[in-house]
Protein backbone atom coordinates (compact mmCIF):
# COMPACT_ATOMS: atom_id res chain seq x y z
CA UNK A 1 0.00 0.00 0.00
CA UNK A 2 2.63 2.49 1.07
CA UNK A 3 4.95 1.21 -1.65
CA UNK A 4 2.30 1.89 -4.29
CA UNK A 5 1.72 5.37 -2.88
CA UNK A 6 5.43 6.18 -2.99
CA UNK A 7 5.65 4.79 -6.50
CA UNK A 8 2.70 6.93 -7.61
CA UNK A 9 4.18 10.12 -6.19
CA UNK A 10 7.57 9.43 -7.81
CA UNK A 11 5.88 8.54 -11.09
CA UNK A 12 4.11 11.91 -11.05
CA UNK A 13 7.52 13.59 -10.80
CA UNK A 14 8.89 11.46 -13.65
CA UNK A 15 5.93 12.34 -15.87
CA UNK A 16 6.02 16.02 -14.89
CA UNK A 17 9.74 16.13 -15.76
CA UNK A 18 9.21 14.36 -19.06
CA UNK A 19 6.31 16.66 -19.97
CA UNK A 20 8.47 19.66 -19.07
CA UNK A 21 11.17 18.49 -21.48
CA UNK A 22 8.66 18.41 -24.32
CA UNK A 23 6.57 21.48 -23.55
CA UNK A 24 9.12 23.92 -22.12
CA UNK A 25 9.36 27.15 -24.10
CA UNK A 26 13.05 27.59 -23.41
CA UNK A 27 15.78 25.07 -23.98
CA UNK A 28 17.32 25.68 -20.55
CA UNK A 29 14.04 24.86 -18.79
CA UNK A 30 13.72 21.72 -20.88
CA UNK A 31 17.13 20.49 -19.72
CA UNK A 32 16.26 21.25 -16.08
CA UNK A 33 13.04 19.25 -16.50
CA UNK A 34 15.14 16.43 -17.88
CA UNK A 35 17.21 16.56 -14.68
CA UNK A 36 14.01 16.27 -12.61
CA UNK A 37 12.89 13.32 -14.72
CA UNK A 38 16.23 11.49 -14.43
CA UNK A 39 16.49 12.07 -10.67
CA UNK A 40 12.95 10.76 -10.19
CA UNK A 41 13.85 7.65 -12.17
CA UNK A 42 16.76 7.19 -9.75
CA UNK A 43 14.19 7.35 -6.93
CA UNK A 44 12.20 4.60 -8.66
CA UNK A 45 15.34 2.44 -8.71
CA UNK A 46 15.74 2.96 -4.95
CA UNK A 47 12.17 1.79 -4.29
CA UNK A 48 12.98 -1.33 -6.33
CA UNK A 49 16.02 -2.01 -4.12
CA UNK A 50 18.54 -1.28 -6.89
CA UNK A 51 20.59 1.21 -4.89
CA UNK A 52 23.74 0.83 -6.95
CA UNK A 53 21.88 1.49 -10.18
CA UNK A 54 20.23 4.57 -8.62
CA UNK A 55 23.59 6.01 -7.59
CA UNK A 56 25.01 5.37 -11.06
CA UNK A 57 21.92 7.00 -12.58
CA UNK A 58 22.55 10.15 -10.52
CA UNK A 59 26.30 10.13 -11.18
CA UNK A 60 26.15 9.58 -14.94
CA UNK A 61 22.88 11.16 -16.03
CA UNK A 62 22.09 13.95 -13.58
CA UNK A 63 25.69 14.81 -12.69
CA UNK A 64 27.25 14.22 -16.10
CA UNK A 65 24.86 14.30 -19.04
CA UNK A 66 22.61 17.09 -17.74
CA UNK A 67 25.60 19.26 -16.80
CA UNK A 68 27.04 18.74 -20.29
CA UNK A 69 23.67 19.69 -21.84
CA UNK A 70 23.46 22.85 -19.73
CA UNK A 71 27.05 23.63 -20.65
CA UNK A 72 26.25 23.26 -24.35
CA UNK A 73 23.15 25.46 -24.06
CA UNK A 74 25.17 28.15 -22.31
CA UNK A 75 28.05 27.97 -24.78
CA UNK A 76 25.80 28.38 -27.78
CA UNK A 77 23.42 30.82 -26.00
CA UNK A 78 20.87 29.25 -28.31
CA UNK A 79 17.65 29.85 -26.45
CA UNK A 80 17.51 33.44 -25.27
CA UNK A 81 14.19 34.11 -27.00
CA UNK A 82 13.43 30.73 -28.47
CA UNK A 83 9.79 30.22 -29.37
CA UNK A 84 8.28 26.89 -30.21
CA UNK A 85 7.92 26.37 -33.95
CA UNK A 86 4.57 25.23 -35.38
CA UNK A 87 4.26 21.46 -35.43
CA UNK A 88 5.54 19.71 -38.51
CA UNK A 89 2.88 17.71 -40.31
CA UNK A 90 4.46 14.35 -39.50
CA UNK A 91 5.08 15.08 -35.84
CA UNK A 92 1.51 14.37 -34.56
CA UNK A 93 1.31 11.22 -36.68
CA UNK A 94 4.54 9.78 -35.31
CA UNK A 95 3.58 10.83 -31.77
CA UNK A 96 0.25 9.00 -32.05
CA UNK A 97 1.88 5.92 -33.58
CA UNK A 98 4.52 5.78 -30.87
CA UNK A 99 1.87 6.30 -28.19
CA UNK A 100 -0.19 3.40 -29.56
CA UNK A 101 2.90 1.20 -29.63
CA UNK A 102 3.82 2.02 -26.03
CA UNK A 103 0.24 1.53 -24.81
CA UNK A 104 0.12 -1.81 -26.63
CA UNK A 105 3.18 -3.09 -24.79
CA UNK A 106 2.03 -1.68 -21.47
CA UNK A 107 -1.33 -3.42 -21.89
CA UNK A 108 0.45 -6.69 -22.69
CA UNK A 109 2.46 -6.72 -19.46
CA UNK A 110 -0.61 -6.52 -17.24
CA UNK A 111 1.57 -5.25 -14.38
CA UNK A 112 2.58 -8.74 -13.26
CA UNK A 113 5.99 -9.05 -11.59
CA UNK A 114 8.42 -10.73 -14.00
CA UNK A 115 9.68 -13.45 -11.69
CA UNK A 116 12.62 -13.41 -9.30
CA UNK A 117 15.45 -10.94 -9.87
CA UNK A 118 18.54 -12.45 -11.47
CA UNK A 119 21.00 -10.90 -9.03
CA UNK A 120 20.86 -9.23 -5.67
CA UNK A 121 20.36 -5.56 -6.60
CA UNK A 122 22.12 -2.77 -4.77
CA UNK A 123 25.01 -5.11 -4.11
CA UNK A 124 28.08 -3.69 -5.84
CA UNK A 125 30.01 -6.96 -5.51
CA UNK A 126 27.42 -9.08 -7.31
CA UNK A 127 26.98 -6.49 -10.06
CA UNK A 128 30.74 -6.55 -10.54
CA UNK A 129 30.79 -10.38 -10.60
CA UNK A 130 28.15 -10.44 -13.33
CA UNK A 131 29.74 -7.73 -15.46
CA UNK A 132 33.31 -9.03 -15.31
CA UNK A 133 32.88 -12.81 -15.33
CA UNK A 134 33.69 -14.29 -18.79
CA UNK A 135 30.59 -16.49 -18.69
CA UNK A 136 28.23 -13.54 -18.25
CA UNK A 137 28.76 -10.05 -19.59
CA UNK A 138 32.54 -9.60 -19.82
CA UNK A 139 32.64 -9.70 -23.64
CA UNK A 140 29.70 -7.32 -24.23
CA UNK A 141 31.17 -5.00 -21.60
CA UNK A 142 34.54 -4.87 -23.36
CA UNK A 143 32.82 -4.37 -26.73
CA UNK A 144 30.88 -1.41 -25.35
CA UNK A 145 34.18 -0.03 -24.07
CA UNK A 146 35.70 -0.26 -27.57
CA UNK A 147 32.59 1.35 -29.06
CA UNK A 148 32.85 4.28 -26.64
CA UNK A 149 36.58 4.61 -27.39
CA UNK A 150 35.82 4.75 -31.11
CA UNK A 151 33.15 7.40 -30.52
CA UNK A 152 35.62 9.42 -28.45
CA UNK A 153 38.33 9.24 -31.12
CA UNK A 154 35.76 10.30 -33.71
CA UNK A 155 34.61 13.24 -31.59
CA UNK A 156 38.19 14.44 -31.08
CA UNK A 157 38.85 14.12 -34.81
CA UNK A 158 35.77 16.20 -35.63
CA UNK A 159 36.58 18.79 -32.97
CA UNK A 160 40.13 19.56 -34.08
CA UNK A 161 40.04 21.93 -37.01
CA UNK A 162 43.70 22.04 -38.00
CA UNK A 163 46.65 19.68 -37.90
CA UNK A 164 48.80 21.70 -35.55
CA UNK A 165 47.86 19.74 -32.45
Amino acid sequence: MIQELVFLVISLFVIAGAAGVVFAQRLFHAVLSLALCLLSVAAVYITLGAEFLAVIQVLVYAGGVVVLFLFAVMLTRSDLQLRREPLESFAPVSAVLFGVLVLFYIARTGFVPQGERALAPGDVASVGQVIFSPKAYALPFELVGILLLAAMVGAIYLARRDERW
Partner: protein, 343 residues
Protein backbone atom coordinates in the same frame (compact mmCIF):
# COMPACT_ATOMS: atom_id res chain seq x y z
CA UNK B 1 3.10 0.05 10.77
CA UNK B 2 5.00 0.98 13.92
CA UNK B 3 8.16 -0.18 12.15
CA UNK B 4 7.48 2.36 9.41
CA UNK B 5 6.88 5.16 11.91
CA UNK B 6 10.08 4.16 13.69
CA UNK B 7 12.15 4.26 10.50
CA UNK B 8 10.67 7.62 9.48
CA UNK B 9 11.47 8.97 12.96
CA UNK B 10 15.02 7.66 12.70
CA UNK B 11 15.46 9.30 9.31
CA UNK B 12 14.13 12.61 10.68
CA UNK B 13 16.55 12.51 13.60
CA UNK B 14 19.37 11.85 11.14
CA UNK B 15 18.36 14.77 8.92
CA UNK B 16 18.07 17.19 11.85
CA UNK B 17 21.40 16.02 13.30
CA UNK B 18 23.20 16.45 9.96
CA UNK B 19 21.78 19.95 9.41
CA UNK B 20 22.58 20.97 12.98
CA UNK B 21 26.15 19.67 12.81
CA UNK B 22 26.77 21.38 9.47
CA UNK B 23 25.15 24.68 10.47
CA UNK B 24 27.15 25.00 13.69
CA UNK B 25 30.40 24.24 11.87
CA UNK B 26 29.58 26.64 9.04
CA UNK B 27 28.85 29.47 11.49
CA UNK B 28 32.13 28.82 13.26
CA UNK B 29 34.01 28.46 9.96
CA UNK B 30 32.99 31.88 8.64
CA UNK B 31 34.57 33.39 11.76
CA UNK B 32 37.60 31.09 11.69
CA UNK B 33 38.31 31.71 8.02
CA UNK B 34 38.35 35.49 8.49
CA UNK B 35 40.46 35.18 11.62
CA UNK B 36 43.02 32.77 10.13
CA UNK B 37 43.35 34.69 6.86
CA UNK B 38 43.71 37.90 8.88
CA UNK B 39 46.53 36.46 10.98
CA UNK B 40 48.31 35.28 7.80
CA UNK B 41 47.95 38.84 6.48
CA UNK B 42 49.28 40.16 9.82
CA UNK B 43 45.89 41.74 10.67
CA UNK B 44 43.54 41.17 13.62
CA UNK B 45 40.41 40.20 11.73
CA UNK B 46 36.96 40.58 13.31
CA UNK B 47 37.40 41.61 16.96
CA UNK B 48 34.44 43.89 17.81
CA UNK B 49 31.38 41.63 18.13
CA UNK B 50 31.82 39.57 21.29
CA UNK B 51 35.07 38.12 22.69
CA UNK B 52 37.63 37.62 19.87
CA UNK B 53 34.86 38.69 17.46
CA UNK B 54 33.11 35.33 18.02
CA UNK B 55 29.67 36.86 17.54
CA UNK B 56 30.63 38.12 14.08
CA UNK B 57 28.77 35.29 12.23
CA UNK B 58 25.54 36.24 14.01
CA UNK B 59 26.00 39.90 13.11
CA UNK B 60 26.67 38.88 9.51
CA UNK B 61 23.55 36.76 9.44
CA UNK B 62 21.37 39.60 10.73
CA UNK B 63 22.87 41.90 8.13
CA UNK B 64 22.17 39.48 5.28
CA UNK B 65 18.63 38.79 6.52
CA UNK B 66 17.70 42.47 6.51
CA UNK B 67 19.20 43.29 3.11
CA UNK B 68 17.03 44.04 0.11
CA UNK B 69 16.26 41.08 -2.12
CA UNK B 70 16.99 42.15 -5.69
CA UNK B 71 15.94 40.21 -8.77
CA UNK B 72 17.38 41.59 -12.04
CA UNK B 73 14.74 42.72 -14.52
CA UNK B 74 15.97 40.49 -17.35
CA UNK B 75 16.53 37.46 -15.10
CA UNK B 76 14.83 34.13 -15.65
CA UNK B 77 12.83 34.47 -12.44
CA UNK B 78 11.97 30.83 -11.72
CA UNK B 79 15.50 29.54 -12.34
CA UNK B 80 17.03 32.54 -10.56
CA UNK B 81 14.97 31.99 -7.41
CA UNK B 82 15.27 28.20 -7.43
CA UNK B 83 19.06 28.15 -7.78
CA UNK B 84 20.06 29.10 -4.19
CA UNK B 85 17.58 26.59 -2.75
CA UNK B 86 18.97 23.86 -4.99
CA UNK B 87 22.55 24.81 -4.12
CA UNK B 88 21.75 24.51 -0.41
CA UNK B 89 19.87 21.22 -0.83
CA UNK B 90 22.51 19.55 -3.00
CA UNK B 91 25.25 20.67 -0.60
CA UNK B 92 23.49 18.91 2.30
CA UNK B 93 23.01 15.56 0.51
CA UNK B 94 26.53 14.07 0.68
CA UNK B 95 26.79 14.67 4.43
CA UNK B 96 24.17 11.99 5.07
CA UNK B 97 26.63 9.19 4.28
CA UNK B 98 29.55 10.49 6.35
CA UNK B 99 29.78 9.25 9.93
CA UNK B 100 31.39 11.27 12.71
CA UNK B 101 31.55 8.30 15.06
CA UNK B 102 30.95 4.54 15.15
CA UNK B 103 27.29 4.31 14.17
CA UNK B 104 26.89 8.08 14.33
CA UNK B 105 25.81 8.36 10.70
CA UNK B 106 22.53 9.47 9.14
CA UNK B 107 22.48 6.70 6.52
CA UNK B 108 25.14 3.97 6.34
CA UNK B 109 24.64 3.20 2.66
CA UNK B 110 26.25 0.08 1.15
CA UNK B 111 27.32 2.26 -1.79
CA UNK B 112 28.30 5.15 0.50
CA UNK B 113 31.39 6.57 -1.19
CA UNK B 114 29.81 6.28 -4.62
CA UNK B 115 26.66 7.99 -3.33
CA UNK B 116 28.75 10.91 -2.04
CA UNK B 117 30.50 11.28 -5.40
CA UNK B 118 27.16 11.13 -7.21
CA UNK B 119 25.21 13.71 -5.19
CA UNK B 120 28.24 15.98 -4.91
CA UNK B 121 28.22 16.26 -8.69
CA UNK B 122 24.66 17.62 -8.56
CA UNK B 123 25.68 20.95 -7.07
CA UNK B 124 27.09 21.93 -10.48
CA UNK B 125 23.49 22.04 -11.73
CA UNK B 126 22.59 24.61 -9.07
CA UNK B 127 25.57 26.78 -9.99
CA UNK B 128 24.66 26.60 -13.68
CA UNK B 129 21.06 27.53 -12.82
CA UNK B 130 22.30 30.61 -10.97
CA UNK B 131 24.68 31.51 -13.78
CA UNK B 132 22.04 31.20 -16.48
CA UNK B 133 19.12 32.61 -14.51
CA UNK B 134 20.97 35.83 -13.66
CA UNK B 135 21.30 36.71 -17.35
CA UNK B 136 24.60 38.43 -16.64
CA UNK B 137 27.82 37.95 -18.58
CA UNK B 138 29.99 37.60 -15.49
CA UNK B 139 27.63 35.02 -14.02
CA UNK B 140 27.59 33.12 -17.29
CA UNK B 141 31.38 33.05 -17.53
CA UNK B 142 31.63 31.91 -13.91
CA UNK B 143 29.06 29.20 -14.55
CA UNK B 144 30.89 27.87 -17.57
CA UNK B 145 34.13 27.74 -15.64
CA UNK B 146 32.36 25.85 -12.86
CA UNK B 147 30.98 23.29 -15.28
CA UNK B 148 34.36 22.73 -16.93
CA UNK B 149 36.16 22.56 -13.60
CA UNK B 150 33.80 20.25 -11.75
CA UNK B 151 33.47 17.87 -14.70
CA UNK B 152 37.26 17.66 -15.08
CA UNK B 153 38.10 17.19 -11.41
CA UNK B 154 35.28 14.79 -10.62
CA UNK B 155 37.05 12.00 -12.53
CA UNK B 156 40.38 12.06 -10.62
CA UNK B 157 38.36 12.55 -7.41
CA UNK B 158 36.40 9.34 -7.91
CA UNK B 159 39.45 7.43 -9.18
CA UNK B 160 41.49 8.45 -6.14
CA UNK B 161 38.81 6.98 -3.86
CA UNK B 162 39.06 3.71 -5.77
CA UNK B 163 42.38 2.67 -4.23
CA UNK B 164 40.98 2.96 -0.70
CA UNK B 165 37.81 1.15 -1.71
CA UNK B 166 39.86 -1.67 -3.27
CA UNK B 167 41.89 -2.14 -0.06
CA UNK B 168 38.83 -2.16 2.21
CA UNK B 169 36.62 -4.10 -0.18
CA UNK B 170 33.60 -2.01 0.74
CA UNK B 171 32.02 1.28 -0.29
CA UNK B 172 30.53 1.99 3.15
CA UNK B 173 32.21 4.88 4.95
CA UNK B 174 31.81 3.06 8.29
CA UNK B 175 33.73 0.04 6.95
CA UNK B 176 36.43 2.30 5.52
CA UNK B 177 36.99 3.98 8.91
CA UNK B 178 36.95 0.64 10.77
CA UNK B 179 39.63 -0.68 8.40
CA UNK B 180 41.95 2.08 9.69
CA UNK B 181 41.47 1.31 13.38
CA UNK B 182 44.66 -0.63 14.10
CA UNK B 183 48.19 0.69 14.52
CA UNK B 184 51.81 -0.43 14.11
CA UNK B 185 53.53 -0.88 17.51
CA UNK B 186 50.37 0.57 19.04
CA UNK B 187 51.26 4.17 18.20
CA UNK B 188 51.74 4.63 14.43
CA UNK B 189 48.22 4.62 12.99
CA UNK B 190 47.41 2.47 9.95
CA UNK B 191 45.69 5.28 8.09
CA UNK B 192 45.24 5.10 4.34
CA UNK B 193 47.33 8.23 3.83
CA UNK B 194 50.34 5.90 4.38
CA UNK B 195 49.01 3.16 2.10
CA UNK B 196 47.74 5.55 -0.60
CA UNK B 197 49.95 8.65 -0.61
CA UNK B 198 49.42 9.31 -4.34
CA UNK B 199 45.66 8.99 -3.97
CA UNK B 200 45.78 11.36 -1.01
CA UNK B 201 47.54 14.07 -3.01
CA UNK B 202 45.19 13.62 -5.98
CA UNK B 203 42.13 13.64 -3.72
CA UNK B 204 43.30 16.73 -1.85
CA UNK B 205 43.86 18.68 -5.08
CA UNK B 206 40.63 17.50 -6.68
CA UNK B 207 38.49 18.16 -3.62
CA UNK B 208 39.84 21.72 -3.34
CA UNK B 209 38.90 22.20 -6.99
CA UNK B 210 35.41 20.80 -6.36
CA UNK B 211 34.99 23.18 -3.42
CA UNK B 212 36.03 26.05 -5.68
CA UNK B 213 38.58 27.39 -3.23
CA UNK B 214 41.93 29.02 -3.91
CA UNK B 215 43.99 27.98 -5.88
CA UNK B 216 41.03 26.74 -7.89
CA UNK B 217 38.45 29.48 -7.26
CA UNK B 218 38.15 30.43 -10.92
CA UNK B 219 34.32 30.17 -10.94
CA UNK B 220 34.14 33.28 -8.79
CA UNK B 221 37.51 34.93 -9.25
CA UNK B 222 36.58 38.39 -8.06
CA UNK B 223 39.33 40.21 -9.93
CA UNK B 224 37.99 39.19 -13.34
CA UNK B 225 34.37 38.10 -12.87
CA UNK B 226 33.08 40.42 -10.08
CA UNK B 227 31.78 37.41 -8.09
CA UNK B 228 31.20 34.78 -10.76
CA UNK B 229 27.91 32.90 -10.71
CA UNK B 230 26.45 34.73 -7.69
CA UNK B 231 27.19 38.26 -8.92
CA UNK B 232 23.49 39.19 -9.11
CA UNK B 233 22.44 37.68 -5.78
CA UNK B 234 21.85 39.70 -2.64
CA UNK B 235 20.56 39.26 0.89
CA UNK B 236 19.30 35.84 1.92
CA UNK B 237 19.86 34.21 -1.47
CA UNK B 238 23.50 35.26 -1.42
CA UNK B 239 23.71 33.90 2.13
CA UNK B 240 22.39 30.54 0.94
CA UNK B 241 25.14 30.31 -1.66
CA UNK B 242 27.76 31.17 0.93
CA UNK B 243 26.24 28.61 3.29
CA UNK B 244 26.34 25.96 0.57
CA UNK B 245 29.96 26.81 -0.16
CA UNK B 246 30.98 26.38 3.46
CA UNK B 247 29.01 23.13 3.70
CA UNK B 248 31.11 21.88 0.78
CA UNK B 249 34.15 22.90 2.80
CA UNK B 250 33.04 20.93 5.87
CA UNK B 251 31.88 17.89 3.90
CA UNK B 252 35.03 17.78 1.76
CA UNK B 253 37.27 17.93 4.82
CA UNK B 254 35.18 15.31 6.63
CA UNK B 255 35.43 13.03 3.62
CA UNK B 256 39.19 13.47 3.52
CA UNK B 257 39.39 12.54 7.22
CA UNK B 258 37.13 9.52 6.63
CA UNK B 259 39.03 8.16 3.64
CA UNK B 260 42.65 8.88 4.48
CA UNK B 261 43.09 10.04 8.07
CA UNK B 262 41.39 7.26 10.02
CA UNK B 263 38.06 8.92 10.75
CA UNK B 264 37.39 8.89 14.50
CA UNK B 265 40.29 6.55 15.28
CA UNK B 266 43.40 7.76 17.06
CA UNK B 267 46.01 5.35 18.43
CA UNK B 268 46.05 5.01 22.24
CA UNK B 269 43.11 7.44 22.70
CA UNK B 270 40.22 5.60 21.02
CA UNK B 271 41.14 2.13 22.36
CA UNK B 272 41.20 3.64 25.87
CA UNK B 273 37.86 5.35 25.27
CA UNK B 274 36.22 1.98 24.42
CA UNK B 275 35.79 1.29 28.14
CA UNK B 276 34.01 4.58 28.86
CA UNK B 277 30.52 3.45 27.80
CA UNK B 278 28.47 6.21 26.20
CA UNK B 279 31.31 8.67 26.70
CA UNK B 280 33.31 6.89 24.00
CA UNK B 281 31.06 8.54 21.42
CA UNK B 282 32.05 11.94 22.78
CA UNK B 283 35.72 11.00 22.37
CA UNK B 284 35.10 9.71 18.83
CA UNK B 285 33.29 12.87 17.75
CA UNK B 286 35.99 15.02 19.36
CA UNK B 287 38.75 13.14 17.53
CA UNK B 288 36.87 13.36 14.24
CA UNK B 289 36.13 17.07 14.57
CA UNK B 290 39.73 17.80 15.62
CA UNK B 291 41.06 16.04 12.52
CA UNK B 292 38.48 17.79 10.37
CA UNK B 293 39.58 21.18 11.65
CA UNK B 294 43.22 20.27 11.06
CA UNK B 295 42.36 19.70 7.39
CA UNK B 296 40.26 22.88 7.30
CA UNK B 297 43.14 24.87 8.78
CA UNK B 298 45.50 23.42 6.17
CA UNK B 299 43.16 24.51 3.37
CA UNK B 300 42.82 28.02 4.86
CA UNK B 301 46.59 28.17 5.04
CA UNK B 302 46.71 27.18 1.36
CA UNK B 303 44.23 29.96 0.61
CA UNK B 304 46.39 32.49 2.42
CA UNK B 305 49.55 31.33 0.66
CA UNK B 306 48.88 30.40 -2.95
CA UNK B 307 47.65 32.45 -5.88
CA UNK B 308 44.84 31.58 -8.26
CA UNK B 309 45.69 29.29 -11.19
CA UNK B 310 45.05 30.58 -14.70
CA UNK B 311 42.05 29.23 -16.61
CA UNK B 312 44.18 27.45 -19.19
CA UNK B 313 46.36 25.84 -16.50
CA UNK B 314 43.37 24.68 -14.48
CA UNK B 315 42.01 22.25 -17.09
CA UNK B 316 45.48 21.08 -18.09
CA UNK B 317 46.39 20.27 -14.49
CA UNK B 318 43.24 18.20 -14.07
CA UNK B 319 43.43 16.22 -17.29
CA UNK B 320 47.18 15.92 -17.83
CA UNK B 321 48.36 15.92 -14.22
CA UNK B 322 45.84 14.46 -11.80
CA UNK B 323 44.04 12.01 -14.09
CA UNK B 324 47.13 10.02 -15.17
CA UNK B 325 48.37 10.06 -11.58
CA UNK B 326 45.03 8.72 -10.31
CA UNK B 327 44.94 6.03 -13.02
CA UNK B 328 48.51 5.01 -12.18
CA UNK B 329 47.52 4.70 -8.53
CA UNK B 330 44.55 2.48 -9.40
CA UNK B 331 46.76 0.16 -11.45
CA UNK B 332 49.47 0.12 -8.77
CA UNK B 333 46.95 -0.70 -6.04
CA UNK B 334 45.47 -3.45 -8.18
CA UNK B 335 48.87 -5.04 -8.86
CA UNK B 336 49.95 -4.90 -5.22
CA UNK B 337 46.65 -6.31 -3.95
CA UNK B 338 46.78 -9.14 -6.50
CA UNK B 339 50.38 -10.00 -5.60
CA UNK B 340 49.46 -10.11 -1.93
CA UNK B 341 46.58 -12.41 -2.78
CA UNK B 342 43.57 -10.19 -2.29
CA UNK B 343 42.85 -7.54 0.31
Amino acid sequence: MSELVWSILKALVGVVAVILFLSLNVLFLTWMERKVIARIHVRYGPNRAGPFGLLQPIADMLKLLTKEDIVPEKADRIVFNLAPIMAFLFALLPAAAIGIGSGLIAADLPAGVLYIAAVASLSTIAVLMAAWGSNNKYSLLGGMRTAAQSLSYEIPLVLSMLGVVAIVGSLSTQDIVEAQSSAWFGIIPKWFIFYQPIAFIVFLSAVVAEMGRIPFDLPESESELVAGFHTEYSGMKFAMFMFAEYIHFVVGSALLVTLFLGGWHLPVVTPLAESLGVLKYVVQVAVFVAKMYAVIFLLMWVRGTLTRTKVNDMLGFGWKGLLPLALFNVVLTGVVLTLRGGA
